[in-house]
């Protein structure tokens, strides 16, 4: 009985307990405590992140002659940490005032907690997988568990969950095909066996495996062009659930892809495979997929008018950075990609939670129905500010560090176009997150929102802690880079040399401790200069220059709709909805085919078919 056994068993136990305790009022706190205990057990394995050898579970199952076993290494630990931390934050958030409110709105917070625990269990099982079969079992559990979370809200959520599951099943089928093919090659599902034959695979086989796995796992990650399901589904998930799913759920795809494509097949093979009639290697193709995954969803996010959708679309885009970083051979890039998983989870969770807090108070996430909340919910504003700085990848928050690593590696590798693509994504992010914070927290406070207050502490504390993480790991990125380096070692890729403040390298350093200190020193100077002037006096928001117009509280003069009108004049017609079109035409094609098959059944007598089939087969064999 080691920590891993304890963790998995406790997790399963939590699922069962929260499943039965759904109706309890204190179900939320119960679930939080259970998740907290799991966190403690995970901390017991913290040695993994600092070089301890992998932990194997002491139990294993054998199905059809194939053993399934589970183990934790630094990579699993890293992902598990993110999973459990975001789950704990979401659970605490949902346990207090929010859960009460959710109950009053007709929801079942206990069910939400159950779904949360189920997801955590599934994810831990996936992260702990010690062979391909357990990986697939974990993978499917994750897929279906997140479906449960998505459809909790009912209504439109059901539709979006359904759409998700179609994508997920398609992905699962691809993965399963890949696994079965591996099995036919090696006769086992062990990682080691596949790794052993991987170098001797033919190029065609490598391409097949890569495409199958990238498609299969990429669906969950929201890789282009399989990304359409994600934003809607996450946006409709109840707030804390969305925070959890948004933070980590999609990253499970990345994890699995890491194991199969990067660890087992190896980037070296991908780089050596040239795509015919082009300059691209297979790796380059994947990197471009990642690049487009950054750009398109980010710019789609810019046009959203619902805060949750906006964030969810960003979640898709940010996944592209991670993949892009991890497809880089040098340690900078892969460290950037891995670190981005952590960073992204930290701020995305907070962002969803803040948006939920806004919904909790105002009952809307429509960016055209909000505004000026900063005076009423200043702490929430601060959280959102910290986290959008992180999301946009601007110093001094942690998002910058990981993106910096990715940029640096792109420069080192000499990939200008990908570099531009990633920067374009960042710029797009800046634009849309400003729209988010502007339309919710800045600008005119609406008359109907004058009386609202900051959210209660039960909701505030998880946000506060997570945003502290966003800041601290930006200030001291070395903390996370330690874990990342161990994960890199576990994956068997080059390990990044780093310091507490960042990276030391002959071709350009990064020392966030200095940078942050100087930055805050600069702010201090700015404040000094500012406060040396005469004291300013606050004025009412209606005391505002509008060309001599007298503003009244009934005037809605908050500039929110079509926020980037000028830009949209130029790029608006580039939004063709091609992917939507593709998806719906595929749907129509299936519908058509389906109608045709039904018609065939209905319009002719089956005897006719019988005779026809008999004639044909006789002709076939006789002729």
């Amino acid at each position: 009985m080691n920590f891993l056994d304890g963790l998995l068993i406790l997790s399963l136990l939590s699922v069962i307990v929260t499943g039965f305790a759904q109706k309890l009022r204190s179900a939320g706190w119960l679930s939080s405590v259970l998740l907290g205990l799991q966190c403690l057990l995970l901390m017991g394995m913290a040695g993994l992140a600092y070089g301890s050898p992998a932990v194997s579970s002491s139990f294993s199952v054998s199905v059809l002659g194939q053993p399934l076993h589970w183990q934790f290494n630094a990579l699993s630990w890293f992902f598990a940490l993110i999973t459990l931390a975001s789950a704990l934050a979401s659970s605490v958030y949902a346990a207090g005032a929010w859960g009460e409110d959710y109950r009053l709105q007709g929801g079942n917070p206990g069910l939400l907690q159950f779904a949360l625990n189920l997801n955590v269990f599934a994810m831990l099982l996936l992260l702990a997988s010690g062979d391909l079969l357990s990986l697939f079992v974990g993978w499917e559990l994750v897929s279906w568990a997140s479906l449960l979370m998505m459809v909790l809200a009912g209504g439109a959520a059901g539709r979006f969950g359904l759409r998700y599951i179609v994508y997920a099943t398609a992905g699962a089928m691809a993965v399963m095909t890949g696994l079965v093919m591996i099995f036919q090659l090696t006769g086992s599902f062990q990682f080691a066996d596949f790794a052993a034959i991987a170098p001797s695979l033919s190029n065609a086989q490598v391409v097949t495996f890569t495409l199958l796995f990238v498609f299969g796992f990429g669906v969950k990650m929201g890789l282009l062009p399989f990304h359409l399901w994600q934003a809607d589904a996450y946006a409709e998930t109840p707030g804390p659930g969305a925070a959890f799913l948004g933070a980590i759920s999609s990253r499970m795809g990345l994890f699995a892809m890491l194991i199969l494509v990067i660890q087992l097949i190896g980037l070296g093979r991908l780089i050596n495979i040239e795509v015919p009639y082009s300059f691209f290697s297979l790796r380059d193709v994947l990197m471009w997929v990642a690049a487009f995954t950054i750009i398109f969803p980010t710019f789609t996010a810019m046009r959203q008018n619902d805060a949750r959708l906006l964030l969810a679309w960003h979640g898709i885009g940010q996944g592209g950075y991670m993949l892009m970083g991890l497809l880089m051979v040098n340690p900078l890039g892969s460290a950037g990609g891995l670190m981005h998983v952590f960073n992204y989870a930290s701020y995305q969770a907070v962002l969803f939670l803040v948006v939920t807090a806004v919904i909790y108070r105002t009952r809307t996430a429509d960016l055209n129905q909000l505004g000026g909340l900063v005076t009423r919910m200043p702490l929430s504003f601060l959280m959102m500010l910290i986290c959008i700085i992180g999301l946009a990848g601007i110093p001094p928050m942690n998002g910058f560090v990981s993106k910096w690593l990715i940029y640096r590696s792109l420069i080192v590798e000499g990939m200008p176009l990908l570099f531009v693509a990633s920067v374009v994504g960042t710029l797009g992010t800046i634009l849309s997150v400003y729209k988010l914070i502007h339309n919710t927290f800045l600008g005119q406070l609406r008359l109907e929102h004058e009386q609202i207050r900051e959210v209660p502490w039960s909701m505030m504390i998880p946000m506060l802690i997570l945003s502290a993480v966003v800041f601290i790991t930006g200030f001291l990125p070395g903390i996370v880079l330690d874990w990342v380096a161990s994960a890199q070692a576990a994956l068997g890729i080059p390990v990044l040399e780093h310091t507490l403040g960042g990276v030391e390298s002959p071709s350009g350093n990064l020392d966030m401790i200095w940078i942050c200190s100087v930055l805050f020193g600069g702010f201090a100077v700015g404040a000094l200069v500012f406060y040396s002037g005469n004291k300013s006096r606050r004025v009412h928001q209606l005391d505002n220059y509008a060309g001599g117009h007298f503003l009244t509280a009934d005037d809605r003069y908050h500039y929110s709709n079509n926020f980037y009108a000028g830009l949209m004049h130029h790029i608006g017609h580039w939004y063709r909805g091609t992917f939507q079109w593709l998806e719906s035409s595929l749907g129509s094609a299936i519908s058509l085919l389906s109608a045709a098959t039904q018609m065939l059944f209905n319009s002719f007598h089956p005897a006719l078919f019988l005779l026809l089939a008999a004639t044909l087969s006789l002709l076939f064999f006789a002729g």
Partner: protein, 231 residues
């Protein structure tokens, strides 16, 4: 209270500070103020047409540090360049109140002095300084750019010496100005700027800041407290 009485009231200018360094500092600030005048030309009438020549290469106001600005927040000088209809006057007052002090008002053209050729019109205000404290009039119909420049230089001189402090009068005699405004606009008249509050917070209250007219205002006005941050 008539205009005459108003003129006679001594505005309590800030006493000269005893610290010589502070005096030098005050002088420096005043000098800078006089050499950096951002003007909001609120183009009410025909007079505005005389400003482009004053700004461009023939006379080049920028030599003197005068720049046009487009919002009252940024501006120091409010130029009123022609007849002020009652409807416009409301906006002029709003704009004036939104400017940051020290602020100066220049009335250009005869219309701002006495109504000019619209003296018998029911629709235009006649004496601008009943509603706003005017530092300087530049009469004429319309005054030539030279006159505008001359006026500007006079104002610079007044700022440099510290004479131009009519803006304080607006705070310290708000009741008077408000009374005149109410007479034209009715008792429901209210601007979004809380002049009394400002006067209080900058210690610019005078003997006649409050009075019967402000009492009316305080009765009818919609509250304009700033939105405080609430935790």
């Amino acid at each position: 209270m008539t205009q005459n009485e108003l003129e006679k009231i001594e505005i309590s200018t800030q006493p000269k500070r005893t610290n010589p360094l502070a005096n030098v500092f005050d002088d420096l600030v005043r000098f800078c103020r006089s050499r950096s005048m951002f003007m909001l030309h609120y183009c009410t009438g025909c007079g505005a047409i005389e400003l482009p020549p004053a700004m461009t290469s023939r006379f080049d106001m920028e030599r003197l540090g005068i720049q046009p600005m487009v919002t009252p927040r940024q501006a120091d000088i409010l130029l009123i360049t022609g007849y002020v209809s009652i409807k416009t006057l409301k906006r002029v007052i709003l704009t004036y109140e939104q400017m940051g002090s020290p602020k100066y008002v220049i009335g250009i053209c005869s219309c701002t002095v006495n109504g000019g050729m619209y003296w018998q019109s029911y629709a235009t205000a006649k004496k601008l300084d009943e509603y706003l404290p005017v530092d300087l009039y530049i009469a004429g119909c319309m005054p030539r750019p030279e006159a505008v420049m001359e006026g500007m230089q006079q104002l610079m001189q007044k700022i440099k010496t510290g004479e131009a402090d009519s803006w304080k009068k607006y705070y310290s005699h708000y009741d008077y100005y408000l009374g005149n405004q109410q007479q034209l606009f009715g008792n429901n008249w209210q601007t979004p700027t809380d002049i009394i509050g400002e006067a209080e917070s900058y210690q610019l209250m005078g003997p006649q800041t409050l009075g019967e007219h402000t009492k009316i205002l305080q009765q009818v006005q919609k509250p304009l407290e700033p939105l405080e941050m609430k935790l």
